[in-house]
């Protein structure tokens, strides 16, 4: 009986919005340090590598290296921000502060909480991705209004990484556990998904593996849009991100039900 209940499809109510609003209210209080923290790291990499390394490099796929890197950074910064939010902040709310427990005593269900958390995480990572995009625009690295279409892609990628992060949160005994995910998943993914250099530079085996990772598909969509061309295989890339977002959310939900509805 318990096992079947655990696997039932998500049945959230609109009250999930209040979970989102709760997190938004906390974020608003800490918005400036939080934004700086979110932005500083990707900015240093983008500007440092972009200008420093870029000076030694020829054009890459028809664009300057820093423009190439800016598109990758939009996506990697989205991934980083979503992962941190879903894991460290999510774990605080679930396990340390018992915020979810308090919410679950109100007329909300765990499904509402999880949807609220996933949408919130995607929103927060969207802000991070967008901030990089705005800076790229200010630096004159964006040449086409098509770049606007990168925004829904960033949001979708945010949802995909939110779901993956929430899986780790559901499994985690403590904060230390998240280091595994960062060192074994996030960092390698960033290196093989075409953020810093074209994927074609990698051995064929690695390319095959990278083709299954969500970050690569986000990059494949965002980079052409920022440079003013329509991406190829749009449906495929979008479909991969959607499948990641939906599946990872469902797995996270089942695992969290197992953890909290004992």
């Amino acid at each position: 009986m318990i096992t079947t209940a655990r696997f039932r499809p998500p049945a959230p109510s609109l009250r999930f919005v209040h979970v989102w609003r709760r997190n938004f209210l906390v974020w608003r209080k800490l918005a400036i340090p939080s934004m700086l923290g979110n932005l500083a790291d990707p900015m240093f990499y983008m500007l440092g590598l972009g200008y420093g390394l870029g000076r030694m490099l020829p054009e890459m796929n028809g664009m300057s290296y820093i423009a190439f890197l800016a598109a990758g950074t939009v996506c990697s910064s989205t991934m980083m921000s979503a992962s941190f939010e879903a894991m460290y902040s999510g774990f605080s709310r679930m396990h340390v502060q018992k915020t979810w427990e308090a919410i679950l005593n109100a007329p909300l269900t765990l499904d509402d909480v999880m949807v609220g958390e996933a949408v919130w995480t995607a929103s927060k990572s969207f802000i991070s991705g967008m901030a990089v995009l705005v800076i790229a625009l200010a630096l004159g690295l964006v040449h086409s209004p098509l770049a606007v279409l990168a925004l829904p892609i960033v949001l979708l990628a945010g949802l995909a990484f939110a779901g993956l992060g929430l899986i780790m949160t559901a499994l985690s005994p403590s904060y230390d556990f998240f280091m595994y995910y960062f060192t074994l998943a996030v960092t390698p993914m960033m290196l093989v998904s075409g953020v810093f250099y074209p994927v074609e530079q990698l051995p064929a085996v690695v390319q095959h593996i990278a083709a299954w990772l969500p970050l690569l598909h986000a990059v494949e969509l965002v980079r052409p849009l920022m440079s003013g061309t329509l991406p190829s295989h749009v449906l495929l890339h979008v479909a991969v991100l959607v499948v990641y977002a939906v599946t990872s959310f469902y797995i996270a939900l089942v695992l969290t039900r197992r953890r909290l509805q004992k």
Binding site: A102, N105, A106
Partner: protein, 303 residues
């Protein structure tokens, strides 16, 4: 219709049956206390009643609504004070109330009316804009209680509400709970403080190893299960005295730690005898709920 009705409720974790077929009924305006040692199944019972975990068997109806199926609807009329404070540390006192009220779908106007009342109730009017970290344990508990009342609930669950509080803070919580009862609220309380249960509850159940082992009003339980007089004896030679005289003069004797508890229907012979024992000290008192509790659940340590 009872406010809460539970029949044949069961819940196991692996081979361990934590709730082993219990029945409960709460009627409007009463304070019901669930007592039991650590690990008796009290908190699991509360979680089941709130629809936070699926039972393995039995039925629960809150306000006539089946739980857990319609628990969300039922929880609209419920307030919960959890065992551990889970206030939002990033928010002020007032923000905690606002945010919690939104979970119930309360409008801004409704909250603007409600919050000053609740701050007064919790004696936190001057702390509305304080951070949670700046509050004392007693203040946090009062705020948690105020938060549980944000939706003006008909039924309030309190899971060990005064654990870890100093006497002043406990008395204030008790006074507030009595105030709520006068307003006609129904209270479901778990505790392992017998004085708290005796003071607040109209009716009690004692739970141990997942089962209900006794029910009744506090005085009734004492009258039914225990001799009315208790003499606690301690000092050098208490063991020898117990076997020579104590056991014969009382109806029942039990040793816990260094203290001998003598239970008697008539304490006069016992007291007379003790007067003459210079090495022993003693305390004579009426039997309390704690004596019942220890008799029924045993004296060994529970962790």
């Amino acid at each position: 219709m009872p406010i809460l009705a539970v029949h044949g409720l069961r819940k196991s974790y692996g081979a361990l049956e934590v709730v082993a077929g219990i029945d409960l009924e709460l009627s409007r305006g009463e304070c019901f206390g669930l007592l039991g040692p650590n690990g008796a199944g009290k908190t699991t019972t509360l979680r089941l009643c709130l629809g936070l975990t699926e039972p393995d068997g039995g039925d629960i109806a809150m306000f006539g609504l089946p739980v857990p199926r319609e628990a969300r609807q039922a929880r609209l009329r419920v307030g919960v004070v959890p065992q551990m404070d889970n206030l939002d540390p990033d928010f002020t006192v007032r923000e905690n109330l606002v945010v919690y009220g939104r979970y119930f779908g309360l409008s801004r106007t409704a909250l603007e009316q409600r919050i000053p009342e609740l701050l007064a109730f919790a004696a936190l009017e001057n702390r509305a804009d304080a951070r949670i970290l700046a509050l004392s344990g007693g203040m946090k508990r009062r705020l948690t209680l105020a938060r549980a009342l944000i939706n003006d609930p008909d039924l309030i669950f309190l899971d060990e509400p005064t654990t870890g509080l100093d006497p002043q803070a406990r008395h204030l919580i008790w006074e507030r709970l009595q105030q709520l009862m006068r307003q006609g609220k129904t209270i479901f309380l778990t505790t392992h403080f017998m004085d708290e249960a005796e003071r607040l509850c109209h009716r009690l159940s004692i739970m141990d190893r997942g089962r209900m082992i006794a029910h009744g009003a506090p005085r009734e339980l004492v009258a039914r299960h225990i001799e009315p007089h208790v003499v606690e004896v301690y000092g050098d030679g208490v063991d020898a005295w117990a076997s020579q005289s104590g056991a014969g003069l009382s109806d029942r004797c039990e040793k816990t730690g260094a203290t001998l508890f003598c239970y008697a229907r008539d304490a006069a012979p016992l007291l007379q005898h003790l007067e003459a024992q210079n090495a022993l000290r003693y305390l004579y008192r009426p039997a309390t709920l704690e004596d019942v509790f220890l008799k029924l659940t045993g004296r060994e340590l529970r962790d």
